[in-house]
């Protein structure tokens, strides 16, 4: 049995997401309230397209919402996305709902209101831009739990500040730990007296956006 996914609103996002989900063999339905958008969407093979306002109960019913495994609300309005997810969850008992949120301050509230997964596009994009501009070539950053915690991958070169130092000699911010050192084929769980060498890759876990300070301290880069 194919997994069924319903996408609502968000023309461009829905289009690329639908295509990629269909390629992975999901049964995908989209709801869009614009006729022109619907026509473009209907060019995608094996995609079911429904014209209408997805925050209305009868439109969701037309899309067979009760049979859906996942409902993803992608409209540009936070309030529409909330209503879509709550209708799906509370009225039609869909087990997983995902909402796009513009206002990062509402993420917590959306979770409390019962949405299973909340994605903040603005946050995600700022994080990517920050990463590209601030650490390009220096480190790879992976935000976790809505970017409250970051996992960073930091390569140590011969010009890095931390080279040939023991861990206890480096003053890292409190919110940062070096979780692992990748050295050649080996991965080392570091101790206070572990020596950092050129070619090492440090795996850093940080909270409170302290990774930038830590990266400066380790690499010497600004």
């Amino acid at each position: 049995m194919k997994k069924r996914i319903l996408l609502i609103g968000g023309f461009n996002k829905a289009r690329s997401l639908a295509q990629s989900l269909i390629n992975r063999d999901y049964a995908v339905t989209v709801i869009n309230k614009d006729l022109t958008n619907c026509k473009v969407l209907s060019e995608i093979e094996r995609l079911t397209v429904i014209l209408g306002d997805g925050s209305k109960a009868y439109v969701l019913e037309e899309a067979n919402v009760k049979e859906m495994d996942v409902v993803i609300a992608l409209t540009q309005h936070d309030y529409d996305n909330l209503v879509i997810c709550e209708l799906s969850k509370k009225r039609y008992k869909v087990s997983k709902t995902v909402a796009l949120v513009n206002d990062a301050k509402k993420i917590d509230f959306f979770y409390k209101a019962g949405v299973d997964s909340v994605v903040c596009a603005v946050n995600a994009i700022t994080n990517i831009i920050e990463q590209k501009t601030l650490f390009d070539g220096i480190a790879n950053l992976l935000p976790m739990t809505e970017a409250r915690i970051n996992i960073a991958e930091i390569p140590i070169s011969s010009s890095s500040k931390a080279i040939n130092k023991r861990l206890w000699e480096i003053s890292l911010p409190k919110e940062v730990i070096i979780a692992c050192i990748l050295r050649g084929e080996k991965s080392i769980v570091p101790q206070g007296d572990t020596l950092i060498q050129a070619g090492d890759i440090l795996i850093l876990i940080s909270s409170n956006k302290q990774e930038l300070t830590a990266i400066r301290e380790l690499t010497g880069n600004r």
């Binding site: 209305k56 936070d78 309030y79 009225r91």
Partner: protein, 146 residues
């Protein structure tokens, strides 16, 4: 005599109305005429022209779905919040924020689409649905007609 005395006691009620349309503006006018403290919020300043000349409450221009604005409006102090924007989904979002984030007790929301009242029962938010009210009233007429 007793009743007048009671009604003269300054009521310490503070109501917030979000959405200054026909319904919102009339409620604001009436509460204000009853000597209650009222604050009405709308994103469009022009909307406040619907308020009567004798309206003695406050007005605030801004987006009612914005947490910062709700804080500015001092929702914590409000005894009642009434949601009368013309968008059901906005009314739903705000009323839930008031309940979940600000723990407000008395929230009333106008809802055009009664199929959307799924969350209100469990959260204890009161709703007013114009269609339901109209149908009740029509039924009354039909009954009276005999």
């Amino acid at each position: 005599m007793k009743t007048t005395l009671i009604s003269r006691v300054k009521q310490n009620k503070y109501s917030i109305i979000i959405g200054c349309g026909r319904l919102g503006s009339r409620i604001a006018n009436e509460l204000s005429a009853n000597d209650e403290d009222v604050l009405i919020i709308d994103r469009d300043e022009e909307a406040f022209r619907k308020l009567s000349k004798s309206y003695g409450g406050l007005t605030l221009v801004g987006d009612g779905t914005d947490l910062a604005l709700l804080k500015e409006a001092n929702v914590k102090k409000a005894s009642t919040v009434i949601l009368t924007t013309d968008n059901d989904n906005i009314n739903i979002l705000i009323s839930q924020m008031l309940k979940i984030i600000f723990n407000k007790e008395f929230i009333i929301a106008r809802l055009y689409d009664s199929e959307k009242d799924y969350v209100y029962e469990e959260l204890g938010i009161k709703t007013i649905c114009p269609v339901d009210l109209s149908i009740q009233e029509l039924n009354r007429y039909f009954k009276n007609r005999g």
